[in-house]
Amino acid sequence: MTVLGPPTIQATGRAGRGSPARRRRAWTGWAFVGPFMAVFAFVFLAPIAYAVQLSLFRTRMIGGTSFVGLDNYERAFTDPQFWSAVGRVSLFLAVQVPVMLALALLVALAIDSGRLYGRAFFRVAVFMPYAVPAVVATLMWGFMYGSRFGLVGDLNDALGTSLPDPLSPDLILASIGNIVTWEFVGYNMLILYSALRTVPKSLYEAADIDGAGRLQVIRSIKLPAIRGALLIATIFSIIGSFQLFNEPSILQSLAPNVITTYFTPNLYAYSLSFSGQQYSYSATVAIVMGLLTAVVAYAVQLRAARRER
């Protein structure tokens, strides 16, 4: 107590006297925030600033680097390849995310219901695919999809059927959706399940006393309780869909004619910079896509917030 006392008095005393003390206090604050700000500026702001700077220039094989202002952005907004990629991931988002979240919700409710035999095993088994690296998972599925040497091919041989080729242009997006669903159902299940665990037992007891059925408990207690978690899972999934890269990139070697170099926006940015040396335009595509992702995710969040109110 005696140790803590004097500084407090000093501080209040000096603060009353005016500006010099205020300035010192300001510096003290900065000293605390400084290390964070330095790291933040270095790892977050600097790369973005660099990408923005890059996007304002253009480097050509003939003529070198020149400042082009917003030309790259203009090109991005009128680039059919870029927008076809955006369209593809949007379609993916609209179909795959609801399916995946519905499955995750179903599994989470099943585990939480307490009626499941071998609950712990089931939970781990569903979560397991998330622990498999995306690259390995995709390779594995790629082998299964093979209509000549893979599982599909073997099935065709064994049963004399002719299953459609999962790597054909019509089915490729669904095939990728299947891989992503397999990978992330467990992860989303865990988010939802942990939210369900926080529901106080007393609510269920009250529902029992009131004579509520199982479905009614789900509708009136469980679902409202995990709305926040569901929103988080949705936003993660939106971001994940827009950033789709690993799966198409690996399947590309199996289906080079189906998965184009502009299949998803990320893949497009990647091929622009790594096989075309169009770093500036690639940075532009990345920035536009980043903004687009932020806007969509924010819109979803706003909508959810409005509904909550």
């Binding site: 790369p47 660099y50 000549r148 040497f149 080079p256 770093y279 990345a286 992702t293």
Partner: protein, 446 residues
């Protein structure tokens, strides 16, 4: 909760940009445009004796033995042989290193089709300044003209790939197929084979830019012409049309196995007879021996099928040079290694290990021509390859941005393999994509 969500969003949006920006941060845009001062043969020799250390990026397997014997001859020189990826992967790494200005190797393996892109990008040292002019007549005309870009010499030919028809004799005998001498006969053989055994295909093809351009080359097409910064594209010229017309039949009637080259399924198919032929460069034997042991004794080599009966036209497929990136610091030493590997003692070592030479002396030597290949049932396969090398159609050139063009080949021509698009339309789309890129890069394209 609210604050958390917003933070989450912000983080996510930033993460997207950061990940990309971080990847890009490695790629600056400094131009290393130092003028090169001429180096004499004596200076190269004294550099070799003085010693030092050089880094070589290459994936060609026989270079390992070359490095060993090179170091034995010049004990003070240390060569770090690095496999930085095959083909495009290595070019990506090299381009990034050059752009960043650090980590650039002293010597790099670059395929002929990719050389103009690096040379015009001012990334390579003109070897004329190191005495490459003295090597005139050492190399076969095809490869030697391939390393000459815009008046300079930007690499020394390491190997070449005059094409030939590799066929599985066992399969041909079983189904009583004659070895096709024209592409028309080739298509007929494809039909007959696939009808006799629905699992067997004449060859595999999933759309390969190198193969397509080589066949257009053989058909006498000249779809790319380059004059300084002026580029002309015509993938609907006589040769391209001839190729597209014939190859379309194989694709439409599903007579080519939908298996990518160099895949596991490919090696398997070459071994078990379900892929019956390959029309490919003369560097293939070493790959067959190591990759398809099951095919030993079954395969044979014949001249390429012709577009006109009785013709003798051939084309190159692949092949690489060794080049010296400008940013490298040991030009004289690097050139010493280049010369040793491509025109000196290294050539013999490489041939003994299965490489196909690009030097006149070796191609004409009796020992080389008379070599019997146990893999090909004792056939003197080099005779076929050497003849093919002499028959390569002259006047071909690649685009100065062929690496990029090839990377979008499957986006465009690939459509012909998986949808109703015709090969001719695919080639047209490829031409448009390449022309657009060329214009973007500042070339005059028409």
């Amino acid at each position: 909760m609210f604050a958390n969500r917003r933070a989450l969003l912000r983080t996510a949006a930033l993460a997207t940009a950061v990940a990309t920006a971080a990847a890009l941060a490695a790629c600056g845009t400094d131009d290393n445009d130092g003028a090169t001062t001429p180096v004499t043969a004596d200076q190269v020799q004294s550099a070799l004796e003085a010693g030092g250390s050089i880094t070589v990026w290459a994936w060609e397997p026989t270079l390992k033995q070359v490095v060993t014997s090179f170091q034995a001859k010049y004990p003070k020189v240390k060569v770090n042989l690095v496999n930085a990826g095959t083909g495009n992967d290595q070019y990506t790494a090299l381009q990034n290193a050059i752009a960043a200005g650090s980590g650039v190797p002293d010597v790099a393996q670059i395929e002929y089709y990719a050389l103009p892109q690096f040379a015009l990008g001012k990334s390579l040292t003109d070897l004329s300044s190191l005495g490459a002019g003295a090597l005139d007549g050492t190399f076969t005309p095809g490869p030697w003209s391939s390393v000459k870009v815009a008046g300079g010499t930007f690499g020394l030919p390491m190997d070449s790939g005059p094409m030939a028809l590799f066929y599985n004799k066992e399969v041909f005998d079983k189904h009583q197929l004659a070895v096709p001498t024209t592409w028309e006969e080739y298509v007929a053989a494809a039909r007959k084979l696939h009808a006799a055994d629905p699992k067997a295909y004449i060859t595999n093809d999933t759309g390969d830019a190198g193969f397509t351009t080589s066949l257009i080359w053989q058909a006498g097409g000249k779809p790319f012409s380059v004059d300084g910064t002026k580029v002309k594209l015509d993938l609907a010229d006589q040769g391209s049309t001839t190729f597209a017309g014939t190859w379309q039949q194989l694709i439409s009637d599903k007579l080519v196995a939908p298996v990518g080259s160099w895949s596991d399924g490919w090696y398997k198919g070459l071994g078990d007879g379900t892929i019956a032929t390959l029309v490919i460069g003369a560097w293939m034997p070493a790959n067959l021996e190591s990759g398809v042991p099951a095919g030993k004794g079954k395969w044979r080599v014949a001249p390429m099928p012709q577009w006109t009966a009785g013709g003798t036209a051939a084309a190159e497929n692949g092949g690489s040079s060794l080049a010296i990136p400008k940013a490298g610091a040991h030009n004289a030493l690097a050139y010493g290694f280049l010369k040793y590997a491509t025109a000196g003692d290294g050539v013999k070592i490489r041939i003994d290990n299965g490489a196909f030479p690009a030097t006149n002396a070796e191609l004409k030597s009796e020992a080389f021509l008379n070599k019997e290949f146990p893999y090909f049932g004792g056939q003197k396969a080099n005779e076929v390859f050497a003849q093919s090398a002499a028959d390569v159609v002259k006047g071909w050139s690649y685009l100065p941005f062929q690496v990029y063009a090839n990377s979008v080949f499957n986006d465009t021509v690939g459509k012909a393999y998986v949808s109703g698009t015709s090969l001719a339309d695919g080639l047209k789309a490829w031409q448009e994509a390449a022309a657009k890129y060329g214009k973007d890069q500042g070339f005059t394209v028409d």
